[in-house]
């Protein structure tokens, strides 16, 4: 019955404890609505057939509803509505009360990407990995405008506001990949602010976390996904890699440290570079972006100013993806500066 109704109503799969609970009320409410509107329509049609106008001078009796009927008009729908409210509000309070044993993840939204930070150390962009059968509490904030964290399969949604934290929680019941969407309009690429929640078996999650602490940066942002829907925005690093090939960046910039026409991208992020003019800069996101848009502004000493201008050719998200790709190219693990409790195992994996 549950499956039948879910499919008839086009509801997504029920991948969290909350989804199961809220859907039963959903079915009840929608079925009552459909029955009521059909009944009203059919009654009107029946009255039309039964009480057609017979003559042009026909008069009709003056009828007013007796008091008990008018009371019924109020009491019957109100009883239904209040029942909906009571059931719905109970569930809502539960959704607003994360269990004490939940695992925390910090969520930062910005135009147009999701960033997840785990207290144990790792960060991830676009992909939130969580264990199954364990409540996860999300502490969310935005860097710019209002966004909204929406995972249809979990039936969970919460606006993400700048300047304050909002929270929500869920407990996934089935390992798998679930789409994350931004539900509050946030500008030009609102509809591309997609992400993915990967629910892992608890043991898989633990080993993933351990890998992250060892700093396997390339594995941070999710393996390729079969589902075309999810990957488009999910994995910026892979996107950046694609754009770097597409726009011909890697024709001049090597990614393995070997010298070439332009500076190598390996370990470029946060490297201190000496410029032609003599001053030094740190190759942070701002510098990398500027170098794509206006390459001649700051030329690293020893290189020729031959790079074409990409301003107007690269869209904002494309430039961001390339920056993320450059950031991922490390000969040794990235320092995880933002974590609350960085616990690193002193292993140099490469």
């Amino acid at each position: 019955m549950n499956e039948l109704l879910r499919n008839v109503l086009f509801l997504p799969e029920q991948a969290s404890t909350f989804a199961r609970k809220v859907d039963s009320l959903h079915y009840f409410v929608i079925i009552t609505t459909m029955i009521m509107s059909t009944l009203v329509g059919l009654t009107a049609l029946f009255f039309f057939v039964r009480f057609r106008r017979r003559s042009e001078t026909q008069t009709t009796p003056l009828l007013n509803p007796p008091w008990w009927l008018e009371t019924m008009f109020v009491v019957v729908p109100l009883a239904f509505f209040l029942f909906w409210f009571a059931r719905g509000y109970t569930d809502y309070v539960e959704l607003k009360t994360p269990p004490k044993n939940s695992m925390d993840v910090y969520v930062q939204a910005k135009q147009w990407m999701w960033k997840f930070s785990y207290p144990e150390g790792p960060n991830a962009i676009g992909v939130l990995r969580v264990p199954a059968n364990r409540p996860v509490r999300l502490m969310m904030t935005s860097r710019d405008v209002i966004h909204s964290f929406f995972v249809p399969a979990f039936r969970v949604k919460q606006d993400v506001l700048p300047g304050r934290y909002t929270e929500t929680w869920f407990e996934a019941i089935q390992p798998g990949r679930y789409q994350l969407l931004c539900a509050e309009y946030c500008g030009t690429n609102h509809s591309l602010m997609l992400g993915e929640v990967i629910v892992l078996r608890p043991d898989e999650f633990d080993s993933w976390l351990a890998d992250q602490r060892r700093g396997r940066a390339l594995q941070q942002d999710g393996a390729p996904t079969a589902d075309e829907d999810v990957t488009r925005q999910a994995d910026l690093v892979r996107q950046g890699e694609r754009f770097a090939v597409q726009y011909g960046c890697v024709k001049c910039h090597s990614i393995d440290g070997s010298p070439h026409i332009g500076p190598t991208w390996l370990d470029l992020f946060l490297r201190r570079e000496e410029l032609e003019g003599g001053q030094t800069i740190i190759a942070d996101e701002a510098y990398l972006t500027e170098s794509m848009m206006d390459p001649r502004a700051k030329i690293v000493r020893g290189f020729n100013p031959v790079m074409p201008v990409f301003k107007g050719r690269l869209a904002g998200p494309e430039a961001a993806a390339i920056v993320e790709y450059i950031k991922s190219l490390r000969s040794e693990p990235l320092e995880q500066a933002r974590s609350r409790r960085p616990v690193y195992e002193p292993i140099r994996s490469r």
Binding site: L9, F10, L11, P12, V22, L25, I30, T32, T33, V40, G41, T43, A44, F47, F48, F51, R52, R53, E56, T59, T60, P61, L62, L63, N64, E70, F73, V74, L78, F81, W84, F85, G88, Y89, T90, D91, Y92, V93, L95, K96, V145, I146, S148, F150, P152, V156, K157, L161, P162, G163, T166, Q179, A183, Y185, C186, G187, T188, S191, L194, D229
Partner: protein
Amino acid sequence: MSPSALDEVGFPEHHYLNAGTTVRSWLLTTDHKRIGVMYLVAVILALFLGGMFALLLRFEHLTPGPTYIDAVTYNRFFTLHGVIMVWFFLIPAIPSVFGNFLLPIMIGAKDVAFPRLNLASVYIYAVGAAFTTWAMIHGGADTGWTFYTPYSTTTSTVVAPILLGIFILGFSTIVTGINFIVTIHTMRGPGLTWMRLPLFVWAIYGTAIIQVLATPVLGLVLLLVGVEHLLGFGLFDPARGGDPILFQHLFWFYSHPAVYIMILPAMGVISETVAAAARKNVFGYRAVAYSSLGIALVGFFTWGHHMFVAGQGVFDAGAFGVLSMFVGIFTSIKVFTWVGTLYRGAIRFTTPFAYICGFLYFLVFGGMTGIAVATVSLDVHWHDTYFVVAHFHFIMVGAALMGFLAALHYWFPKMFGRMYHEGWGLVSATLIILGFNATFIPQFLLGNLGMPRRYYDYPVRFQSLHVASTAGSTLLFFGFVIIFIYLVLALKYGRAAGRNPWGSRGFEWDTSSPPPTHNFEQLPVFTHGPHEYQLAPEVSNAA
């Protein structure tokens, strides 16, 4: 008001339309009927423009990813669609057109209380529209009609002139509201007690109260957004020390009651037309009259149900949740009353009756899905998805537009003295009702599936439902084209309607069609209510 009034057929020699034929006689008129006609032209233009944007949006959704416009254009189009439809069509549609035209005639007055103020409201509307059009030509805003901060105060698009346009337009709404309230209080004809007022007048009265009380809040909040956008004061943007939720509270404190500005007059139209179509007294006059006031009052205390996932407190969500359940009750009283009115009536199936049936179905379905999205836990999934879009289009386009079309078809003979082609009327009504369902039922399902609103691009699994919805919208479009053609033709070639083509007991039918400049040959005296079909025609007209 002679006893032979009912039988009189033909076109009167002198009426308000030929009282002056120069452009000047229209632009400087203080005749409420001419002002109503000018508003009719304006809102039809707005409906056309807003509808075109809607069609462009629907066609963009035929395929995921870019179909023929880019993301920024899409975002501007849905903003313009919303702004034009809400403020330039739905809010003035019934009160400013039919309210202006009929209210004085229905209460036996020669005009509204402040005729020059009434004319001013047209010009204020025009100035507001001019600002918005100017902004549209210069690119237009991409914020959505809700102008949520801090996006609206940081976007680089042309927000300020659109805000100013709506701000100015608000004064036109307020002026109209004040005018109606004063007119109803002070200018009712002899014998017309409150309990004899036509139910359309009660609905307009409830609407006018909301217009006067809520619209200033809109003006205030738009002004604050403009100040933050232009001068950089930190009111709503946290980066400058403001509070983004504050904006949403202020905005919905206006915009939820504004929903009732749009739907209450349509309810008034249905109360009138259902009685005329069934030739039957309204089943529970007082219940309908008082529920209009009930909606006007309780509608002010439910705004928080737009913000269940916005970050308001759990207790607030509960309070707004319960209050929202109560506002639904007033609507359900009306629905049962209208259906009850048909019982033992003498019903004729005409074009207005087709729209009444459409209205009942859309209002019940749209209204109950409204209660459904006000059910707190369900709203978490549905909020900001196509489910909400479909719900409010069922109310706004479904119910409110059905009300507008019912009014247009019911009162067209009164306004212009001619009948339109009944067969084409029924054809287009069928097209519109079917097309409407085909457009928005798929959108309910899209919302269930998790499709967020205001998405330019969308994942492939949503495509089939989007295509179905677009197909439905073309049906709707053809329905409107047909209406436009036969109404324009009827203006010139329609047969003379005569005083009272429907055999209605409504007071407005006691004067000639079209009415004379001062509405009546002699001022009417009211001896009975507007829906007393138990009386034989001679008795009812022997005033």
